[in-house]
Homo-oligomer: 352 residues x 4
């Protein structure tokens, strides 16, 4: 009953097997391995983007920070939501990599950026002079940090605003696969067709050990990205081990299968929670992550039964008066078992 | 016959097995995995440094740049050799992570820093005022980038100079294991007993997929290191996969065994080269890396036989008049086979 | 009728005279001029701070950004109001100088930081881990950017919160003199006795050509400040011209006289506005700056009469329907003439 | 007898008068003052560069660091001489402003960059990959830091090499006027016609209080420069005081007159030194600065007579055995008096 994060999960057998295969003999370093050629071709085909530059790094923070730094100058603003991972959870990595760009929160419901709020802010920013931080870029997250999902049309609406001001758009896709299969659309439709310029394509939360792709749809910035990656210490010498994992993940649509499993587990969670009196969701579920308010009595029962998950917002005391409520985050992963979900719901309901 | 780099090698079976074992079930993220506790305890014991802070990252550049940034302010100098990896091969990562510190080359023979040259430079720097970059720290590499080796006493002599000026000392140990087993001394003697404050302990070139430890002997800077690591995007969420590799590497002294194998292969190379007419070493061999001057005719024969290695300095043309010479770098790794060495020597000798 | 900014004003005769005197002969460079000794002694005496480090720079942005960088690490937050000059008007200079620290707006009425909001934010920040930007420092502005004024007790209350979390406090005193004379207290009471660690003491808006002092009450950070100043290009070789201006400004209490004149002109403005139907102040006046809402008809009359001032918030159209209102900022300076104020009021009232 | 630096000098009467004139009434801030229009037009005309962007800052370090940052990315090298001011005397300001670019010293005699050494280095750098700091730009200084002078053809030769590699060229003209009048050529010939892209045009050492112009011949980077200037805290609110000084300096060719005076004083020094037995110049004189080797006995006599100048290289002891020599730097300024030169020579000769 581990619902702390999808990064608490392991990797599926095909990924381990791919590592073993890739381990044979010697291989060229620093991304010149043949598996990377395969990964690049596969991602370009999947995204219908034959010119796209494709790179691998090991962490989502690296993917995001490098993507932002490549597209936003130091004196400009990155518009994101107040709960964006880049704003809240990367210890200032975007500021570090960009050389001091300013993250500017744009409000919105359910973790999504409100187009009107963005439009208003861009309008204001359009008139500023040399004294002010300039307009820089827009960064969205899908799945959002609230576990909700942008439809492609929603992304397109925000991108259109960005584009009207000449700004590039970044998509933090730490849970891109979960959003994609929930939406049931093509990768292209969720990204460049919706105006996305650069994508952090997350593998780590969805079955890899620590591999993220950065997909730059317009390759003009590709060489700059490579230099920033190296300079950030994110270019792997034994790159084949990243390539191998990513290749296995893409093969036979494993990545979407894994995401479907995680989403299905979350759906089961959602259905179960609906049967727990006094429980409600904070946001509509977009994929594999739920934010719920629980009666503290139910929470105490789940804890006693061994369920693990985070209070949300963090830093609420784990203990509290039975008559109160507690907010929690519940994340399902590709390996979350139905029986664990059921045991958790049973514990919450006090039937255990 | 691959002598391009030790990073072209794979990983030994126990490392793969450890990954498989570590993959079971869920695990706490971001370094809170139990395997990391084991790694920390093991490294502290090995180095006889019960207070040392121990962290894992995935690349040597990250290890070095973070170690430097944690110990050197932006307005200060990092003294290193002109061929130091941090000076030559990291695309300015040290400058990026330190916020613009200045790498100041100190001359010396065979890739080692000359104590007199360091003393002279520190003397000059001791008298500077606000207009000048300040004294910052000293960074040494062992094995050096010339394939040679500092004895502990040599490190201690340089450290003593640093210490007399209040400067910390970093040791880039990308090939620390190779130096250690060649020297036959304890890890403590090669590091903190010789005045080293922070060590980049390289695993990647010696049998891991991409794992380096940073060992900070005085833990006062530990929390700053953790923040810089996160901010640099180098904190792994699924940290267990780094821990597992490092734990396997340390277990049963695997790390030293691997280094001994690499050194032995290099020794065989050295002995073989001595039998190739017109060939000579550029520097005495310290471990698993050789720099040699070859007759171009011999080089052409080796190439024809399929041997791979880099001209050194780089960018010498691969082809050239038979009567000329070419400088090359030859790196042996833990998995370099004796028969490959022998075939290479045979090819060089024209007996193939 | 120039009410655009106090930086549109010139300098009084004693400052020009001091420049002329200081111009005689040769003088030591880079702050070693005897006039700087005089300035340092004078400021220490004025602030009853015999140990304080005192430095001069030429712009308020430099003073602020250097003060912040010296007291806040790159991975930490600077808490300020949403309208703080450092947040809004310095094109990211604080981010640049700190190496990417994060400015975190804390709400409050009338341009003042709300202690409860600060307490709440610090409470949250106290519990964060390595993933989050850390607590860094608090930066207040007095006069505030809304033209209001903190009493020393208000500063002390905010400082006490900062101190309870181990955070230093910066005071942006671009209009410190105006606040001080309005409050009628000692410099010490407004600063270090109220918990301020570092002060940007503004001369430029109050009668100098471009001179600001930075006063660091605990000199432990002094040498770091000097290095950052040099490295930022803010150490003047012909420093005597900064010293001379500052010395003249302090002499015979000129600085407070100038501030009193500016405040008196603003008081006259305030009294006059009270006689203009349909006009009201957005915030209580703290010194020499007013924010008012005017009927557009009155605004049009003032414009027609030649009055200059900025719409506030900026970027409101200068023209608009007569029945609407417009927000404006009106800043008086040491050289604002009573007759100009009266002409402006007359124009607003339509009596011109 | 002050020969420490040209920045120990004051400013001539027309500059003071211009400040007084400019002080009248109110003026637009931040460079919108009419005097700046005049300065811009004047500099464009002087340099026959009608499109050039022209900006004022207060220090040479600011001018240089901003010019470099605007033309060189963080991951690239700035090629300069080992004694360049940007390398030796700015406490890492170029590294700070560029975000960590690497200053790479290129050897040469008499403070001038050797074209062959530059060509060789560029050749090497042309072949590097992602692991290495990239080619960035070339920065020359005229007068050089050795007091020598590049002829336009020498600058053109170096610029041609830079251009062949696609690199921009910066000219640090802290003593540009001294070089120009000594060479007797037009400003255009010394700059853009010789391939210079951006010039730091020094006023401070040649009669201003602290004003330097940055002239960007291709204005494509102008807006970026403005943002970097603001962000660096180098945009003056009361900009008219910079403009006024620069306008007075340019008027009636004052700037060249001042430089001629300084050069003439240095010429007198040179002639005088030739009469002091045991004295010789370290470098041929290019303008107003001399490096000489003096017998210590002569040096002691000059010191005793009150002469002020710096040992060079710095940090040689002022006292030493009479039979030894000491290297010194002697700088003349626009206000150096012939009689002071003569007294100095007399003292050196022991005739005082």
């Amino acid at each position: 009953m581990i619902f702390t994060s999808d990064n608490a999960s392991g990797v599926p057998a095909p990924v381990l097997a791919a590592l073993t295969r890739a381990n044979e003999g010697f291989a060229p370093s620093y991304g010149a391995d043949p598996l990377m050629d395969q990964v690049r071709a596969h991602i370009r085909a999947l995204f219908e983007a034959p010119e796209a530059a494709v790179y691998l790094v090991a962490t989502g923070t690296a993917a995001n920070a490098l993507a932002l730094a490549t597209h936003c100058p130091p004196w400009a603003a990155v518009y994101c939501t107040p709960i964006a991972h880049i704003e809240e959870d990367e210890c200032g990595a975007p500021e570090f990599y960009t050389g001091g760009a300013k993250l500017v929160p744009i409000a919105g419901a359910d973790g999504k950026m409100d187009p009107q709020a963005l439009a208003a802010r861009l309008e204001t920013a359009a008139a500023v002079g040399v004294h002010n931080v300039q307009k820089g870029m827009v960064s969205l997250t899908n799945l959002t940090e609230a576990g909700t999902r942008y439809a492609p049309a929603e992304i397109a609406a925000l991108s259109a605003l960005a584009r009207a001001h000449g700004l590039p758009v970044h998509l933090d896709g730490a849970r891109f696969a979960n959003a994609l299969v929930a939406e049931g659309c093509t990768p292209a439709k969720m990204t460049w067709r919706a105006g996305v310029d650069v994508l952090s394509l997350g593998g780590t939360k969805n079955g890899l050990m620590g591999v993220e792709a950065v997909v730059i749809f317009d390759p003009a910035q590709a060489w700059e990205f490579e230099l920033r990656r190296k300079r950030g210490g994110h270019l792997f010498s034994k790159h084949r081990y990243l390539s191998a994992q990513m290749a296995a993940w893409l093969e036979d649509d494993l990545w979407r299968d894994l995401a479907r499993r995680a989403n299905a587990a979350a759906e089961r969670l959602e259905a179960g929670l609906a049967t727990v009196p006094g429980t409600r969701l904070a946001h509509p579920r977009g994929g594999n992550m739920l934010f719920a308010t629980l009666p503290r009595a139910a929470h105490a029962r789940a804890r006693a039964a061994g369920a693990q998950y985070y209070p949300w917002p963090p830093h609420q005391p784990d203990d509290g008066p039975e008559e109160e409520e507690i907010g929690v985050r519940l994340v399902a992963s590709w390996c979350t078992q139905a029986e664990d979900v059921d045991r958790f719901i049973t514990a919450l309901r006090g039937e255990g």
